[in-house]
C-alpha cells in the first residue's frame, strides 16, 4: 500500500484552504459588525448571512479541501476526478458568496442561485468521492464515517435548496419549519460525524496513540449519523425533534469521552497548537450538548450560545487545529520532499510560528466563549467585542498558515533531537534492529 502515491496536486487542495482562510476572519468580523441585530433576532437576515458565510465559505471549503487531500492518502485510493473536485470548489465558493449577499441584502434570487450552486457543488463533490470510495479495500471506522457523513452533506444541502425555493414558490409549507433539521443534518450529522470519524485516524497518527479499540467509536458515530438522518423526519413531523436530538447529543458525549481516552494513550505528551486546539474542541463538546439542551428548553439566549459553541467552538477549533497539521505538511511536501532538498529540510512544525499559533488559539478560545456568554446575557456589546477578538484570532491563524509557504525553518540540524548519528550505540532498539532478520 502506498498512501502518498495517490496524493492530489497541491494546488487542488490549497485553493480550497486558502479561500476558506479568507472567509474565516471575514465571517467573524461580520458577526462583530452585526452583533446587535444578531442578538435581537438570531434567525434574522444578518445572522443567516454570517452563519452561511461561516458554514459554507469557511467550514465547508476547509472540509472539502481536507477530504480532497486525506481520502486518497488515508484510505489509499486515487480521486475519481480532479476536474470534478475543482468544479465543485468553484460552485461552492461562488454559491457561498451569493447566499451571503442574498441573506444580507434580502435578495431571494441571489439566495436561490447561491443555494442551487452550493447544492450542485456539494452533489458533485459527494458523487466524486462516492466513486472514489468504491476503490476502498478496507472499510474501517473512518471510511464508514466519511461515507455516511457525505450522504448527510448532500441531503442537508438539498434540503437547504428546497427551503430557499419554498420561500419563493411555497410548494411545501412544512419546509418553513425545517431550519433545525437543515442545521443539524449539516453541523452534527455531516460535520461532527466526519470530524469524529477522521479523528480516529489523525489523532493516533499525530500523537502516536495507536492501539485504541474502536468499538465505542462505532457506537458514537452510529448515533451521530443515525440521528442526523432522523432529522428528516422532523420536516413533516416537527414534534419528533427530541429523538434525533437525543441520539446526536448522546453520540457527541460518547465520542468526547472516547477521544479523551484515545488521547490518554499518546506517546507524544505535549500537544502543540494543532492538536491542542483539536483537544480543546473535544473538551468543549459536553458544553455544546448542555447549551443545546438549554436551547431546547427555551432558555433565553441559549440558542445563540449553542450555535456559537457548536459552529465556532467545536467545529471551528477542530478545523483550525487540523489545519495547523495539514497546511505545514502540504507545504513541506511541496517544498522539501524532493531528493535535492535533503539536508536542508526543516521539520514540518517549523513552518508555522508557535508564538503566533498560541496567540491565535487563545484569541479564538476566549472569543468563542465570550460570544456564547454574550448570547446568554443578551449583551450585544459583549458579543461584538468577543466576535472581534475571535476574528483577530482567525486573522492571525490565517496569516500564520499563509506564511508557511515562505518560512525556511530556523533550527540548525545539530540542535535538533536525534538528528546526528551516534557513536557506539547501546540502546536496545538499535541492537535489535541490526539483529532482526527477515
Amino acid at each position: 500500500m502506498n498512501a502518498s502515491h495517490h496524493a492530489p496536486p497541491f494546488s487542488l487542495v490549497w485553493r480550497h484552504l486558502a479561500l476558506a482562510l479568507v472567509a474565516f476572519p471575514v465571517a467573524l468580523a461580520g458577526l462583530a459588525w452585526a452583533a446587535p441585530e444578531v442578538v435581537a433576532n438570531p434567525r434574522g437576515p444578518e445572522a443567516l448571512a454570517v452563519v452561511h458565510l461561516f458554514a459554507v465559505g469557511w467550514v465547508a471549503l476547509v472540509v472539502m479541501g481536507a477530504l480532497t487531500q486525506m481520502i486518497p492518502v488515508v484510505l489509499a485510493v486515487p480521486l475519481a476526478s480532479h476536474r470534478a473536485i475543482a468544479g465543485s470548489h468553484a460552485l461552492t465558493a461562488l454559491g457561498a458568496l451569493a447566499m451571503t449577499l442574498g441573506f444580507a441584502t434580502g435578495t431571494p434570487y441571489a439566495l436561490m442561485a447561491g443555494g442551487a450552486a452550493v447544492s450542485a457543488g456539494f452533489a458533485i463533490f459527494v458523487a466524486t468521492l462516492a466513486v472514489t470510495l468504491r476503490g476502498v479495500k478496507t472499510w474501517d471506522l473512518t471510511a464508514i464515517a466519511v461515507a455516511g457523513a457525505l450522504g448527510l452533506m448532500v441531503t442537508g444541502g438539498l434540503l437547504g435548496a428546497l427551503m430557499a425555493a419554498n420561500q419563493r414558490w411555497v410548494f411545501w409549507p412544512a419546509l418553513f419549519g425545517a431550519m433545525p433539521a437543515h442545521a443539524h443534518l449539516l453541523t452534527v450529522g455531516w460535520l461532527t460525524a466526519l470530524t469524529a470519524g477522521v479523528s480516529y485516524k489523525l489523532l493516533p497518527m499525530f500523537s502516536l496513540a495507536y492501539g485504541h479499540p474502536q468499538a465505542v467509536g462505532r457506537w458514537a458515530l452510529g448515533l451521530l449519523l443515525g440521528g442526523g438522518a432522523l432529522w428528516l423526519l422532523t420536516v413533516p413531523l416537527p414534534a419528533a425533534w427530541p429523538l434525533p436530538a437525543a441520539l446526536q447529543g448522546t453520540g457527541g458525549l460518547i465520542y468526547a469521552w472516547d477521544a479523551h481516552r484515545l488521547l490518554g494513550r499518546r506517546k507524544k505528551r505535549r500537544l502543540e497548537t494543532g492538536l491542542g486546539m483539536a483537544a480543546r474542541a473535544i473538551a468543549l463538546l459536553p458544553l455544546v450538548v448542555a447549551t443545546g439542551v438549554a436551547a431546547a428548553l427555551g432558555v433565553p439566549g441559549a440558542a445563540g450560545a449553542y450555535g456559537v459553541l457548536l459552529l465556532v467552538g467545536w467545529i471551528g477549533w477542530t478545523l483550525v487545529g487540523y489545519l495547523y497539521k495539514i497546511v505545514p505538511f502540504l507545504v513541506w511536501v511541496q517544498r522539501f520532499s524532493r531528493p535535492e532538498s535533503a539536508g536542508k529540510r526543516p521539520l514540518a512544525t517549523e513552518l508555522v510560528d508557535a508564538r503566533l499559533a498560541r496567540v491565535a488559539g487563545d484569541a479564538l478560545t476566549i472569543g468563542t466563549l465570550g460570544m456564547a456568554l454574550g448570547f446568554l446575557g443578551q449583551h450585544p456589546g459583549g458579543l461584538r467585542a468577543s466576535a472581534a477578538l475571535a476574528a483577530a484570532g482567525a486573522l492571525v491563524a490565517a496569516y500564520d498558515l499563509f506564511q508557511s509557504q515562505h518560512r525556511k525553518g530556523a533550527t540548525p540540524t545539530w540542535k535538533r533531537p536525534f538528528s546526528t548519528p551516534s557513536a557506539a550505540s547501546s540502546t536496545p532498539n538499535s541492537a535489535s534492529a541490526s539483529s532482526i532478520s527477515g
Binding site: M1, N2, A3, S4, H5, A7, V73, V74, L75, A76, K201, P204, M205, F206, L208, A209, Y210, G211, K267, K268, R269, R270, F329, W332, V333, F336, S337, P339, A342, R345, L347, A348, T349, R416, P417, F418, S419, T420, P421, S422, S425, T427, P428, N429, S430, A433, S434, S435, I436, S437, G438
Partner: protein
Amino acid sequence: MEKTVLDALRGVLDPEFGISVVDLGLIYGVEVQPDGVHVRMTLTTPSCPLHDTILEDVERTAAAASGTRAIVELVWEPAWVPERISPEALAQLQA
C-alpha cells in the same frame, strides 16, 4: 557495515516528530548481501503520507553510507507499535 548504515540512518528524520527512523523503531533490519545493502523497515501507519519521501531518504542514506546499492523492503508484519520507540526518543516525546 550494518552498524555504519544503521548509524547513518539516525540522520533520517521523520519530518513530523523530528525523530530518526531508527529511534522510532521503524528499521527492522540491515543486512549486507552480495547485491547491496538490504534495509527492512516499516512505517508507523500504512496511511503515512510521507511514505515515498521517507523510503527515498532511507535508500539514499543507506547507499551513501555503504558505498553500494541499497534495497529498501517495506513490510507491515510485524506491525509497528509505539513500544518500539527508543527510550531516548520516548523521553523527548514525553517532555
